[in-house]
């Protein structure tokens, strides 16, 4: 009888240990999760930030309600955040970095906009000036950060390993747009018609 009791206790202990082990294993970050964690390079508007493939500077942001691109006019049900930035590749020819916006609540905005125009690639020794835009609800502006990362296929099919569709094991430039509620309201109130500027290239000095 005693040996049976001991055996049952041993089994119960074994199951408890297995359960505890499973719980602990579930809370240990996987090698993939650790390897995929991006390296953030932080900055603000007007500040040049260096990252793996070069230097990027967000020079200006503004908000529009309608935007004329090459041959199309985008009229948003929200607002259109226009972003002027420059990119100087460090060593090799590089496509212009991909961008997305993360709002104060962690929501991500980006992907394919209604009318798109590519800013192409940058050659070493040159600076590419690019204007692009993101369509957003006005509420997304407050506390938003603009993220830029080495170009990758960001399309309708988000190949997210986990919930964050955009993160990856690479450098991500994170620009604080410093948009308080008051500043965001000002920008939205001033939003009107705009024209998307074509990209230009200058030789780096």
């Amino acid at each position: 009888m005693k040996s049976k009791l001991r055996l049952l206790l041993m089994l119960a202990l074994l199951l408890a240990v297995l359960a505890a082990g499973s719980w602990v294993a579930g809370h240990i970050p996987s090698p993939t999760a650790v390897a995929d964690r991006p390296f953030y390079r932080r900055g603000v508007v007007g500040e040049t930030v260096e990252f793996r493939i070069g230097k990027v500077t967000v020079n200006n942001i503004s908000v529009a309600k309608t935007l004329k691109t090459n041959s199309e006019v985008v009229i948003s049900d929200g607002v259109l955040l226009l972003i002027d930035f420059q990119f100087a590749p460090s060593e090799y020819r590089q496509p212009i970095p991909s961008w997305y916006l993360e709002d104060a609540g962690g929501r991500l905005y980006g992907g394919i906009m209604p009318a798109t125009r590519s800013c192409g690639s940058g050659q070493p020794g040159t600076i590419v000036h690019c204007q692009t835009y993101l369509e957003l609800p006005p509420s997304a502006l407050v506390g938003a950060h603009l993220a830029m990362q080495p170009s990758r296929q960001v399309g309708h099919k988000f190949t997210a390993r986990q919930q964050n569709a955009f993160s990856g094991p690479d450098d991500i430039v994170l620009i604080d747009l410093q948009l308080s509620k008051g500043r965001a309201d000002e920008l939205v109130a001033a939003a009107g018609d705009a024209q998307l500027s074509p990209p230009t290239v200058e030789v780096a000095s």
């Binding site: 049900d77 905005y109 992907g111 997304a140 309708h156 997210a160």
Partner: protein
């Protein structure tokens, strides 16, 4: 002198215990029985994989009403017909065009490709029209009402007014009603575990709207 016993001798047990119960009380068999019992309990509860054990309800709604059709909240706006839609350059002689408009809001926390999730996955029934008279989708059947551009990624929290566009021969009677089937999807990890994506497409809601002549209301 008695020869030394090489091993301690245990008293012999009864034949019944050795042959029957002893087998079931060995640690290995007991462990296996426990595991089997555990598997049985899990299996009785539906197994480890999340299986859609219940038939999901299909919502029916009308103009001005909303339905949650994952990942969108969709509000039925109206359905109209016209002989031409100039902003879309739809003005072929002998054709009639039907627009079915919805307000669509992305409920996720990342952009969602609405064209990808909607195209070829909606259904439309236009009452009792003959098959030859039934409207069919035009070449680019989904547009943004605000600027007539095809929608791509719909941003989180943003409500966009979208229209599905159909055409039919002008000689056919215009439809009086449309019953529009809207697909829902599930954002989950692929069964093979290599990517997150949209799966499990199924019609989750039907919007029924009267179809009126454009400008008549």
């Amino acid at each position: 002198m008695e020869p030394r016993q090489p091993y301690p001798v245990t008293p012999p047990q009864s034949g019944r215990r050795r042959g029957g119960l002893a087998f079931f009380t060995s640690p290995l068999v007991l462990t296996l029985l426990w595991l089997l019992a555990g598997i049985g309990v899990v299996a009785a509860g539906g197994g480890w994989a999340p299986t859609p054990s219940k038939q999901l309800p299909v919502v029916e709604f009308g103009p001005g009403q909303s339905a949650l059709v994952d990942p969108f909240e969709i509000t039925a706006v109206k359905a109209v017909w016209s002989d031409s839609i100039e902003p879309l350059r739809l003005n072929a002689e002998g054709m009639r065009y039907i627009l079915v408009a919805f307000d669509v809001r992305n409920t996720m926390n990342f952009p969602v490709g609405i064209n990808f999730l909607m195209k070829d996955k909606t259904t439309a029934e236009f009452g009792a029209l003959a098959t030859s008279d039934a409207p069919t989708p035009v070449a680019s059947p989904l547009v943004r009402v605000s600027d007539n551009l095809p929608p791509n990624d719909l941003q989180p929290g943003l409500t966009a007014r979208l229209a599905f566009v159909f055409e039919q021969p002008a000689s056919a009677p215009p439809p009086e009603v449309v019953k529009f089937g809207l697909p829902a999807h599930t954002w989950r990890l692929h069964a093979a575990g290599h990517e997150w994506n949209w799966f499990d497409t199924r019609i989750a809601a039907y919007a029924t709207m009267p179809v009126t002549k454009a400008g008549s209301q």
